[in-house]
């Protein structure tokens, strides 16, 4: 297990993965600055 969260950066790809894995999505809008 990685010692950090492996974030998707593309919502469409995340939803496709969620469908494959039958999991919900945690969507985090953040300020990268």
């Amino acid at each position: 297990m990685e010692n950090k969260i492996e974030w998707e950066t593309n919502l469409r790809a995340a939803i496709a993965r969620a469908q494959d894995d039958d999991r919900p999505v945690l969507l985090d809008f953040h300020n990268p600055n």
């Binding site: 969260i5 950066t9 919502l11 894995d21 919900p24 945690l26 969507l27 809008f29 953040h30 300020n31």
Partner: protein
């Protein structure tokens, strides 16, 4: 979130095991507009079709983020009328995070899930009694107040 919550090992394990995490900048187009994001952090639980079920704006410590996610998962199940799965997620929240800010809402939705699946009003009344006893100042205690009369 980056300094405290996301580096937490329990948070990493939980997120990797329960959800697909996706992170976008606050001005990502079209997503920030689609989700009407006005402040950060904004955390949203989506089902696997992209439908929104729960959102929180502002910092969450690890002991609040994990129950927030469980509540979102429970609400996603509830809103597609998968009441057994909703109750399972909400039970996990109440077992592991009974002192969290998400707990009163979990009690409320757990009771409504029970009512919707059994048509017995007893869980609603019990939920009000529990909320009144353990979370007297919660908004969810106020929302459940009519159930005291059942």
């Amino acid at each position: 979130m980056d300094a405290v919550t996301y580096p937490n090992l329990d948070v990493i394990r939980f997120i990797q095991g329960h959800v697909v995490p996706v992170r976008l900048p606050f001005d990502a187009k079209p997503e920030a507009n689609d989700f009407k994001v006005k402040w950060t952090p904004t955390l949203i639980i989506l089902d696997h079709d992209g439908g929104e079920h729960h959102r929180i704006t502002g910092f969450l410590a690890p002991e609040e983020l994990l129950p927030m996610i469980l509540l979102g998962i429970g609400k996603a199940h509830f809103e597609r009328e998968a009441f057994t799965e909703a109750i399972r997620s909400l039970d996990a929240l109440l077992k592991d995070y009974p002192k969290s800010d998400s707990a009163p809402q979990a009690i409320y939705y757990r009771a409504v899930s029970q009512y919707k699946s059994t048509h017995s009003a007893e869980p609603l009344k019990e939920a009000y009694q529990k909320l009144h006893a353990e979370y007297p100042s919660s908004e969810w205690t106020k929302r459940a107040a009519p159930y005291r009369l059942l």
